[in-house]
Structures are given as C-alpha cells and as structure tokens.
Amino acid sequence: MSTQDWFAVRLSLQVAITAVIISLPSAVLIGYILAKRRFRGKWLIQNLVNLPLVLPPVVTGYMLLVCFGPYGPVGSFLAHTFHFRIAFNWLGAALASAVVSYPLMVRSIRSAFSSVDSKLEFASESLGINKFKTFLQISLPLASNGILAGCLLAFARSIGEFGATIMIAGDIPDQTRTIPLAIYSLANTIGGIKSGWPLVLMAISLSSISLICGEILERRGWRNDNS
C-alpha cells in the first residue's frame, strides 16, 4: 500500500472515531427517551432520526452542504464567529459519517435501554436516588453493552461511508480522501478496481478489529460472566 493509502486508513479511523464521539451523547439521550418515555411527538423524533437511513447518502450530503457549507447558515456563522470550517475538511467527513450512522446508533442504544428491567430502576428510586442518578448508575451501565454495540455499528458504517462524504468533504487527497473515496478514485484510474483490493481488505480488517474489541469488552462485562 502506498503512503496515500496509509493516509486514507489513518484518516478513515480519525473520521470514524470522531463521528462516534460526536454522536454518542445525543444518541444516548435520544435512545433513552425513545425507550423509556411516552410523549406526544415521539414518532416525529423517530422519523427525524431515521431520515439519513432512508435518504440516498448523496442527498443527505447535499443537505449538509446547504446547511454547513461556507454559505450555509451554520457554516457561515461558524466561519465568522470562530474562524472554523467544517465543509471540505476532515471534520466535514466526520459530520457526514456521524449523520449517516446516527440512526443505527440510536436504534441500537434504544433497544439496549428497552431491555433494562424497569423494576430495577424503580428499586433504585425507592432507595432515594433520583431519576437522573438512576439513569447514570443503573440504566446506563446495564445498557452499556448495547451502547457499545451501537458505537461499533456506527464506527463500521462510518468506515464505509461514501456518498455524503464526497458531497460535503470532497475527495481531496491527503485531506479528505478516506478509504471509500480512495477506492472509488482508484476504480477511476487505469489500473481499475483491482488496485483497490488492498484498501478493501484494510476496510474489512478495521471493522473486524473493532468487532473483536467489542466482543472482548462485552465478555469482560457482567452480562456474559458465567459460572
């Protein structure tokens, strides 16, 4: 693999990890609310969250560009106030990955919270621990396996993200060319897709490693600790 390829691998990792970190807090919150609360506008939130799942990633990327691009409302605000830009930057790639993988993460986290026995939460409250602390000390740790699974899922999805990334971050070598963009670009050159194989294998092994890490973490948790 060329140094450019190695750069793509490093960048993909950086982007995917950032994407997970960006989305995690709100995904945990939304996942918890969707799992444990009943309220009026619930289906609306659910739909919003699922939007990036049903839209072609290119369209998602386009919407992000409209919003976060240098002329977009958020983008120009950030640029003027903090001299900070997201589009055409690795941060843009991270944002794209975060948005596209968000529904997967929320879903995983939501189902993790759903399977935490509400009676345990009641028990905690009856010991004088308020709802928020109960969330922190009971619901969150008990859902941690599912949250972890959600992160890994989002990570894997980010590693493979193409459509939205090329829209908002562009395919700029040494800046925003993640593994999928590099594969695509290789496919467009004379050697063709064959020269892309090392990168394809790299993508696969990254996700394998993340999965295996996840398994190990999970196995060390309370859930699978048998006999």
């Binding site: 026995d117 009676k119 345990l120 009641f122 028990a123 905690s124 409250e125 009856s126 010991l127 004088g128 621990i129 308020n130 709802k131 109960t134 000390q137 009971i138 740790p141 008990l142 948790g221 309370w222 600790d225």
Partner: protein, 357 residues
C-alpha cells in the same frame, strides 16, 4: 408520631378491584391475606411503583399521592424503603456496591445500621465481592434486606422478606429488624404467610381479602376473633405465648405463663433476649381435671371464652391470662360438656412446645 395513611382504589384490567383504607402508626403492621388478595399491589402503590386510579397516601403529614389534587411525589423522594418479593438486586454491581447504593440517602437515622453491622447480622460479609448472579436465592434476599435497611427510610414495606430463609437466620434477622424498628420508630408493613412470624413480629395486623380490608387491629385481637377464619391449616391457629420469666431446675427449664408454670423442652443456649413459646391448636389437649400418670407435663387452667365450629371440628379459645386456641373433635366437646365460661385444663406436651427468640 409517624403516621402512614393509605387510601387506595384501583381497578385492574383483569377485573380485580382494590379498595383499601387504613392508617398505621410507627409500629410493625402485618398485611395478611390469601395469595392474590392484593398485598403486593398495596405496597407497590404506597411506594409509587403503580399509580392507583383514586386515592391518597400520606406519610408524616407529607402527601405522597393524592388523585384529587394531582399530587404524585416521585418515588425517590417518598423515603419509603421496600424489600421486594423478588429481590431486584442490581446485576452489574457487586454485593458491597448494592448495599452501599442507597446508603444514608434518607438522613434521619444515624446509628445501628452501618455496613459492617448489617453484613454481620445478615451473614453476608463473605459475599461482598460477589455479583448477584452468583448468589443463592436466600443470599439474594439477605442482600436486598441489607440494601433497604441501609437507606434508612421513613417507612418500610417488606414483601415476604424471609420466605426462603431457614429458621435460624429468620430468627436473627427478625431480632435485628425488631431492634432497628424500635429505634427508628417508623411505620412498617410486613407481608408474610407464616402465621407465627406475623404473630411474633407485628403488633398490628390488617387482614385483606379480595382487595378489601376484612379487619384491622391488634394482632392478638385479630387472632382471637378471626384466627380460625384466617388460618385454615389442618393444625389450626398457632398459639404464641410470651414467657414472663424463666427458671432452671436441675436439667429442666420452666417458664411462667401468666402466673402458671410450664415445663420447656431443654434449651441449649440460654439467652437474655425476649422468648416465646409456640404450639399449634391441635397440640392442646383439654381435660376437666388434672390428670396424673401421664407423660404430659403441663396443665394450664383457663376459662372457655369462645367455641367455634369449623369443618366438623371445634376450635376453643381458652383464656389462661392470654388466649390459647385448642382444636378438638366434636365428640370430645360433647364428652367434656364444654360451654363458654366453664373452667378447663389445657394440657400441652413439653415436646410440642417450640421456643422462639
């Protein structure tokens, strides 16, 4: 004086209707009733886990729930400790963290429930590093008890807290409860199917049946008036008598029960804790005069107060200073010509007596 006032109406989808009203002071009150009569539902509504259709729950003048003025204090602020029928330990915390989870959350009580003491009494000191899934049924139950006690609540609800424990543990835990509750002076609700536990542990009893309060009052009165209806076991109601004082004479021990002497089975460890003797109604033989040449050692003289016929058997309440129930056949009643007011001897084999601390 701490008071828990409960007023609940609820209609379950299954058709079961709960309609419960009672007040208890800082005392231990049993709720007694058949399986499915609504005991667990009552406690879960007091604690705030289930919301009743209508009603009111007031603890120490704090309104915890009132359907009319839409008050519904969050569970965590009710300061009510619950020991659940099915433990509900936190699976991701070890025993020690489980115990410490709600420690001193409610600040009123400052002593006699530190972690060490609780672990010692409940015999769980060796389990502190374990996780709940590696505990036996009884061990889980004990940890759950400890966890709730350590949170020093302002009222305590216990749903069969001792169901799967053996007698020795039951006794020592009950004594500990007794002492803590004596000190804390908080209203305590105790649910158990074990008649002798109810009798020993609770001063007051509320009898529920099909979701309604059947009767309520001092445990002793309830037993006198409703004993035969409530405890329908083959051996009749269980008699539980306070021992006034203890006397050792050679190899035998004697107790004074309302002024009358009674021989006890040999006790190994003499203790200076409060003791009771316990025997079932079917163990009580009645005779109109003192009989010699018989292995039965104890003859308590008393007056017949009530005669109840139940399933072709006769239950007789004899006042020997306290009430003793005896279960005899109809033939025996005829032979002895038992009538209310007549004097009679209650003969109880020493071997039938069980000593309870």
């Amino acid at each position: 004086m701490t008071i828990l006032e409960v007023d609940l109406c609820h209609q379950f989808k299954s058709g079961f209707e709960l309609d419960i009203h009672f007040k208890i002071k800082n005392q231990i009150t049993s709720i007694f009733g058949a399986s499915g009569s609504g005991k667990t539902s009552i406690t879960s509504m007091i604690a705030g886990l289930t919301k009743p259709n209508h009603g009111k729950v007031i603890l120490n003048k704090r309104t915890l729930f009132d359907s009319y003025s839409h008050i519904d204090v969050p569970i965590s602020q009710r300061k009510i400790g619950i020991i659940f029928q099915n433990h509900l330990l936190f699976p991701h915390l070890d025993v020690k963290s489980n115990l410490q989870y709600g420690i001193r959350r409610f600040s009123r009580h400052q002593s006699s429930t530190d972690l060490l003491r609780v672990c010692e009494v409940l015999e769980i000191s060796h389990l502190l590093k374990r996780y709940p899934k590696h505990l036996s049924g009884g061990e889980c139950q004990r940890v759950a008890i400890g966890r709730t006690l350590l949170s020093s609540p302002e009222a305590l609800l216990m749903d069969e807290p001792l169901a799967s424990l053996d007698d020795r543990l039951k006794d020592s835990i009950l004594n500990y409860f007794d002492r803590i509750l004596e000190e804390w002076q908080i209203p305590t609700i105790f649910i158990s199917h074990n008649q002798s536990l109810v009798q020993r542990f609770s001063s007051h009893t509320i009898v529920v049946d099909h979701g309604k309060v059947l009767s309520t009052g001092l445990t002793a009165d309830i037993i006198e008036n409703h004993g035969p209806d409530i405890w329908k076991s083959a051996k009749g109601p269980i008699n539980l008598l306070d021992i006034d004082s203890l006397e050792q004479d050679g190899e035998s021990s004697y107790a004074l029960i309302c002024g009358q002497k009674i021989q006890l089975p040999s006790i190994n460890q003499a203790s200076n804790q409060k003791m009771y003797i316990q025997f079932s109604a079917s163990d009580v033989v009645l005779s109109s005069n003192i009989i010699v040449n018989i292995s039965t050692r104890n003859h308590l003289l008393g007056v017949v107060r009530r005669i109840v016929e139940q399933n072709s058997n006769i239950l007789v309440a004899i006042d020997v200073g306290t009430i003793i129930w005896s279960k005899i056949t109809m033939g025996a009643q005829k032979d002895l010509q038992l009538k209310i007011g007549c004097q009679i001897y209650c003969m109880i084999k020493t071997q039938s007596l069980e000593i309870v601390i």
